[in-house]
């Protein structure tokens, strides 16, 4: 158990460091990368709590997908840092209040009876966290699960509506159309009478040009 504690405190220290760097670093790309580190260490802490599936899903979804989007955005938009920092002092009281509120809430929740330390029942050797999750997610918690699909649908549609603009200058081609092209669409055979032009032998100038 001492070793687990050691791992926990190491991960917690890295997590705190990464979290602080996220908000203090000046370069948004560095901030995003520290957030990646924060997610990664958070996954490690979840793993210590034996939440196997959730921990790895955290890496898969947040590190592997969400942060890729974040990085895309901060890397590709030329973000003017000075502009971002302009209103810092104006927003500080508001942000401080919200932060304090969240801290108080967390203390209240964590000191409540739900999070009182309990001994975790030891699992049998072939215990599968994922299977356990699956057993309840698709039966007992069916409604939230189906609602999740609606949330995802809304997200898909919102993403498309907000970002998709048709480009007028594109010269794209439609492969389906290309495949379906028939000979008749492209090629017109015109019947013509064969006409043989008799070369004028007398003209030496034309001969020269040919050779």
């Amino acid at each position: 158990m001492i070793f687990n504690d050691f791992i926990f405190y190491t991960l917690a220290a890295i997590l705190l460091f990464a979290g602080i760097r996220v908000i203090t670093t000046r370069n948004p790309v560095y901030a995003a990368l520290h957030l990646v580190l924060a997610f990664f260490t958070a996954a490690g802490i979840w793993l210590l709590l034996e939440a196997e599936f959730l921990a790895i899903a955290l890496v898969l979804v947040y590190v592997g997908a969400v942060m890729v989007l974040f990085l895309f955005v901060v890397m590709m938009l030329d973000i003017n840092l000075d502009k971002l920092r302009e209103g810092f002092w104006d927003y500080l009281p508001m942000a401080g209040t919200i932060g304090l509120l969240m801290a108080v809430e967390m203390v209240m929740i964590l000191s409540g009876k739900y999070f009182a330390p309990t001994t975790v029942a030891s699992k049998s050797a072939d215990y599968s966290n994922t299977a356990e999750l699956g057993r309840v997610l698709y039966t007992d918690y069916l409604l939230p699960f189906e609602l999740a699909s609606v949330v995802l649908l809304v997200a898909i549609i919102a993403a498309i509506v907000l970002t998709l603009r048709d480009r007028q200058d594109s010269k794209s081609m439609n492969p389906a159309e290309q495949v379906l092209v028939k000979k008749q669409d492209r090629l017109r055979i015109v019947k013509m009478d064969a006409v043989v032009e008799t070369p004028s032998v007398e003209d030496p100038k034309a001969d020269k040009e040919k050779s």
């Binding site: 687990n4 791992i7 490690g44 793993l47 210590l48 034996e50 196997e52 599936f53 899903a57 898969l60 979804v61 592997g64 997908a65 969400v66 890729v68 989007l69 895309f72 955005v73 890397m75 590709m76 938009l77 030329d78 699992k123 215990y127 599968s128 966290n129 994922t130 299977a131 999750l133 699956g134 057993r135 997610l137 698709y138 039966t139 069916l142 699960f145 189906e146 999740a148 699909s149 609606v150 995802l152 649908l153 997200a155 898909i156 549609i157 993403a159 498309i160 970002t163 998709l164 603009r165 048709d166 480009r167 594109s170 010269k171 794209s172």
Partner: protein, 118 residues
């Protein structure tokens, strides 16, 4: 369970070492002769004429967003696939409803031309 993850932790550290080791070694043994021409970013022999970090087509963001959504879908499918035998027909239908809703989104995306690259 946790004892099984200890080798993984070590392996990740070894993986990082496999990357860092040769880099450090290379730094030590290789020459270091900086030269402003050599160190300038490659641009077919031209002087670099603007910042390399440019604005990008919005489609790349769209791909990233759609990737998140589909990745979540996969995250939901994994536990389902594992327990499909146990939850039987009801579980199967539950996932079909879930997929149906998302297929609506996929079809919308397709019809809107969000998947076209031009």
């Amino acid at each position: 369970m946790l004892e099984n993850y200890f080798p993984i932790l070590l392996f990740i550290l070894v993986g990082l070492a496999v990357g860092l080791g040769p880099l450090v070694l290379g730094k030590i043994v290789s020459p270091h002769k900086p030269d402003s021409e050599k160190n300038s970013p490659y641009e077919c022999g031209f002087e670099a004429f603007e910042d390399a970090r440019m604005k990008f087509d919005v489609r790349y963001y769209l791909v990233a967003i759609l990737f998140i959504l589909f990745d979540l879908e996969i995250a939901f499918l994994f536990p389902w696939a594992v327990v499909l035998q146990e939850i039987g027909l009801a579980g199967f239908l539950a996932m079909m409803l879930f997929l149906l809703v998302l297929v609506v989104g996929f079809v919308y995306e397709w019809m809107k031309g969000a998947l076209e690259w031009d």
